[in-house]
């Protein structure tokens, strides 16, 4: 499925002009929105603002920081999920659409463990130990889910046309989502109450940050660090990189490709499990469809950062999270769009289109094996 790359100097067709037009329109919306925002910050009765957005108030510094922190902490979770997409895409060259469901299973198992611990009275008394235990359970569940998925649904399809495993993964995602609905009921499940020291706000570098968000950011950083160590400094990580580079040559070098692929799924699943628990602690509830949108957005983050590039995935997640939190208020509101908070998801998807149109290899470059580069 190699796409024809238009070489420089070849004939520009109608579609190229159209694509250029879309790029220009999208970029000018961004630039114009930023301009309107900045002007509005200085003077919210300026001629432009009074014309297109008469009740503009602008954002206070605290609001802006609050949005940024929210965006960053959500983005950190997108990043953690994106790692799974990115690694699997790097190794197998296909989008594991069901990875969002792996994340959801992590959040769900976290809900079950934490409520059981809460019922036993341990959640309040030994909070840190309980959270640690929940994280371990979530990692186990998510890892198992990812590995089973690989074994049952994807391994038999290795080597088939590219879209076949993608369609299968859509089916897997659909199945897991609805299996959770029929087993555990369709309603939202609430996590137990968090201790006060976690819900309080702390002031760090003039930023007022809730404890949960600090926890999310720290946990994401720790997970990312250990993943980096695993991939770059251990032998298994080296094998993973080799398989991602060229599966056949790696096999010739004596690397067990199947085992490495399973490891890749497992590590991706573990990251998604951590993200699931963090999601539960941050938003305090989980439903069966929790995995769908964050899953797609995490894929977007992986593309934004450059597929196959682990640092890129994390950076992409953080940028996507902050763009999603800030763009509606910073770009769209000054342009006179009302009800901007409804458009958050649309902003994320538009960002995906924008990145693919302007820099298809992502902000930090793709790391893919020869066949998958396009």
């Amino acid at each position: 499925m190699t796409t024809a790359v238009r070489t420089r100097g070849s004939q520009r067709t109608g579609i190229d002009w159209f694509l250029t037009f879309i790029r220009v329109v999208l970029l000018s919306v961004v630039v114009f929105g930023l301009f309107a925002f900045v002007w509005q910050q200085f003077d919210n009765q300026n001629p432009l603002a009074s014309r297109i957005n008469p009740d503009a108030t602008g954002l206070t510094a605290d609001q802006f920081k609050g949005l940024l922190v929210t965006g960053l902490s959500q983005g950190a979770m997108y990043g953690l999920i994106a790692l799974g997409y990115s690694m699997v895409y790097g190794v197998l060259g296909f989008i594991n659409f069901a990875h969002g469901e792996v994340f959801m299973l992590g959040a769900f198992s976290g809900f079950i463990t934490s409520t059981q611990l809460d019922a036993a009275g341990w959640w309040e008394d030994y909070f840190l130990a309980s959270v640690f235990f929940s994280v371990v359970v979530a990692i186990l569940v998510s890892t198992t889910a990812a590995v089973v998925m690989e074994k049952v649904a994807y391994r038999p399809l290795r080597g088939s046309p590219r879209l076949i495993p993608l369609i299968t993964s859509i089916g897997v995602s659909f199945f897991i989502q609805n299996a959770v609905i029929v087993l555990f009921g369709p309603g939202a499940k609430s996590y137990p109450r968090l201790p006060e020291w976690l819900t309080d706000r702390y002031s760090i570098l003039t930023f007022e940050i809730e404890g949960t968000k600090i926890l999310v950011l720290v946990a994401a950083a720790v997970s990312m660090g250990s993943l980096w160590f695993f991939v770059e400094r251990t032998k298994t990580g080296k094998a993973m990189r080799a398989v991602a580079e060229d599966r056949e040559i790696a096999a010739l070098m004596g690397i067990d490709v199947n085992k490495t692929i399973v490891t890749t799924f497992a590590v991706g699943g573990a990251m998604a499990g951590v993200a699931g628990i963090l999601w539960g602690l941050l938003f305090k509830s989980v439903i069966a469809t929790t995995g769908f949108l964050p899953g797609i957005k995490a894929f977007t983050a992986a593309v934004v950062g450059g597929v196959g590039n682990l640092g890129g995935a994390m950076a992409g997640g953080v940028s996507l999270g902050s763009a999603e939190a800030l763009a509606p208020l910073v770009l769209l509101e000054p342009l006179g769009v009302n009800g901007v908070s409804q458009l958050r998801d649309a902003v994320a998807f538009t960002l995906l289109v924008l990145v693919l149109l302007i820099k298809p290899t992502g902000l930090f470059g793709e790391k893919l094996s020869g066949d998958d580069r396009a």
Partner: protein, 646 residues
């Protein structure tokens, strides 16, 4: 495909067969299948399916749909465990007691899981996370008797069923077909109860009182007075009072089906082969006769059926329209468009806004006022144009992307369109979450009006659009454009080297798909009379995808079969099917079906010949090579049998 399988079957007879002892089993395989069965049974039990479906009887007093959901699995896995792939030139194992023993072990092992579940449900309460962990489940699992009875019977019953499934291996293919026909007839006659009851009753009433038919040309909404149908006796014999078949009816049906299958002796297959063998004008004539007969049958059908059946068929037709469109995009051009529902939404909203008499509250001044001044047909024309343009706009940015990126980006577009329709920002145009209501029906002037309160008119509307779409799909598939689509699907670089403008060809697929989806949107607006953003979730795209894939990508007949079987029986995202009780579980089943089809039969139930050859290229080459028909280094053209034997 079929000629190759028969080839393999022939060789089995000629090669000396191995005989092995009854307990000389492949224990690993037995254990794996048994545990798989156990997992499936426990999952189904905990999903609440058996309890929820227990109300619906299959055979009155013998088995309900709930038990059927559990008990179909032991025979199937008992059969599968004995399946063997016989390689060319290898000896096949002789079928014998060994297979039955394996089936029994698989069934019993799976049943053991259920026995353990019975014990657990009896002694622990896990209702907190698992919502279906209830006394009702225990009652069902113990067959309303003591726990001990449940424990023992859950080992014996699946064991026996597994053995029964496995013993099918011992029968001759003809007998096996007869047994399958018996089982399937009983189950499907029971599942199709409301449809058969309605249809047979309607025909019977018309025979009893032929004058009734003439009344129907008038207003269709007047309820018909009940007349004694001539088939009342038959219906009462087959179906029990509280739903499901009577025992006598089930036995009679099974006997009739078995006898027909034995008497038929593969006549259907022969007729099909002779039809396929024909060429030229004779084949055209036969095709024309078949199409004419089915058209006449479909036109007269609503005279004999009630509103519910007509409504059901209209829903099937709407999803058929959508599936035909997606079939062009995914099946022919090989573009995985996951945001297909966007075009459906665009079609529904466009025609709604163009025909509605009271436009959205804050309809902007700079747009022409809308008060339904367009006729329905003109509005449809504009809708088609809008859908085509949206197809171009969504298609253009994604057309050069990798196939899998394209899938996610189109999914994103599908969500963007839904979010925009739902947003307050564009609420002036689309009424946000309130949606657009009071949409008038499709007005065809002297021919009458098709609207929701008259399901028969909607049925005909759907029929006309389905006919148009099928014709368009069929002509396109065999046109220059259709061949270009298939070339792009199979290898884009080669297609480009052959002089195909791949970008334009793919864009055309998007546009044609969008137009067919807008037809469905127009029909839905006329049928339901209102549109809401919540009707256009990604879920809809995925269900249409399942319909296309299960039916057979790239094959119109396959898509037809897929929509009838899936939408008709299980139902659409919101529309009930014949198994209305399944509504809670249908999405689960859709997901499972999608995975299962991709793993076992990616070409679908009724495959497109070229597509399935593409998916099984290795096997085709291997078979041909084994028969010495091709040089392995040479890519061969056409099916293996067309090559002259060496």
């Amino acid at each position: 495909m079929s000629d190759i399988t028969t080839q393999v079957d022939d060789t089995i007879d000629t090669i000396e067969e191995l005989t092995r002892g009854a307990f000389d089993l492949n224990w690993n395989r037995v254990l794996r299948f048994g545990n798989l069965l156990g997992l499936a049974l426990v999952f189904i039990a905990l999903s609440g399916m058996p309890v929820g479906l227990d109300e619906r009887e299959i055979v009155d007093g013998v088995i309900s749909l709930g038990y059927l959901a559990l008990l179909t699995f032991p025979p199937i896995l008992g059969w599968t465990v004995g399946k063997e792939i016989v390689l060319e030139g290898m000896s096949a194992t002789k079928r014998g007691a060994r297979d039955v023993v394996a089936g029994a072990f698989v069934g019993a092992l799976g049943g053991l899981w259920m026995s353990i579940l019975v014990l657990l449900v009896d002694n622990f309460n896990l209702r907190d996370p698992l919502v279906n962990w209830s006394p009702a489940l225990l009652t069902l699992m113990t067959f309303s008797r003591s726990t001990g009875f449940g424990l023992v019977s859950w080992i014996i019953l699946p064991g026996v069923l597994g053995a029964a499934g496995a013993s099918l291996h011992l029968l001759t293919p003809r007998l096996r077909r007869a047994v399958m026909a018996m089982v399937l007839t009983v189950i499907s006659v029971s599942i199709f109860q409301s449809l058969i009851d309605d249809l047979v009753g309607g025909i019977g009433e018309s025979i009893a009182d032929p004058g009734r038919l003439s009344e129907f040309f008038g207003e269709g909404d007047t309820p018909r007075p009940r007349v004694d149908s001539v088939f009342d006796g038959l219906i009462d014999f087959i179906y029990a009072q509280r739903g499901g078949l009577t025992v006598a009816g089930a036995i009679a049906l099974a006997l009739v089906a078995g006898a027909l299958s034995l008497a038929g002796r593969g006549r259907i297959a022969k007729a099909k082969a002779s039809y396929n063998a024909k060429t030229g004008p004779e084949r055209t004539r036969q095709t024309a006769i078949m199409i004419a007969v089915s058209t006449v049958l479909l036109i007269v059908l609503p005279f004999f059926t009630g509103r519910i059946t007509q409504d059901l068929l209209a829903n099937v037709g709407i999803f058929l329209l959508l599936a035909l469109g997606l079939n062009i995009v995914v099946g022919l051009a090989g573009i995985l468009d996951l945001g297909y529902v966007a075009f459906f939404a665009v079609g529904s909203y466009s025609i709604a806004i163009l025909t509605v008499t009271d436009p959205p509250k804050s309809w902007p001044d700079w747009l022409p006022t809308l008060d339904g001044q367009f006729g329905w047909l003109l509005a449809l024309l504009i809708t088609v144009v809008i859908a085509g343009v949206v197809g171009l706009f969504i298609g253009a940015p994604v057309i050069r992307m990798r196939g899998d990126y394209l899938a996610i980006v189109t999914l994103g577009f599908g969500e963007i369109i839904r979010i925009l329709l739902l947003s307050d920002w564009l609420g002036g145009y689309f009424n946000a979450a309130q949606g657009i209501t009071n949409i008038p029906g499709a007005d065809f002037g002297p021919l009458g009006e098709a609207k929701g309160i008259n399901p028969r008119s909607i049925f005909y509307l759907v029929l006309v659009f389905a006919a148009i779409s099928i014709y368009v799909s069929w002509r396109l598939e065999h046109s220059r454009l259709g061949r270009a689509w298939m070339a792009v699907r199979e290898d884009e670089s080669v297609a480009e080297a052959m002089g195909i403008n791949t970008v334009n060809v793919k864009l055309m697929a998007f546009v044609v798909g969008a137009v067919l989806a807008s037809f469905a949107g127009a029909v839905v607006s006329a049928k339901v009379g209102s549109v809401f953003p919540t009707s256009f979730l990604i879920l809809v795209s995925i269900i249409i995808l399942v319909v296309v894939i299960v039916g057979g990508m790239g094959n119109i007949l396959g898509v037809l079969a897929g929509s009838f079987v899936l939408i008709g029986v299980l139902g659409g995202p919101r529309q009930p099917g014949l198994l209305a009780e399944f509504s809670e579980y249908k999405l689960l089943i859709y997901g499972a079906l999608l995975v299962w089809m991709m793993l076992q039969r990616p070409e679908g139930l009724i495959p497109n010949v070229r597509r399935s050859r593409e998916l099984h290229q290795d096997e085709f080459l291997q078979d041909a090579w084994l028969k010495g028909e091709v040089d392995p280094d040479d890519d061969h053209e056409g099916p293996a049998t067309e090559v002259a034997p060496a």
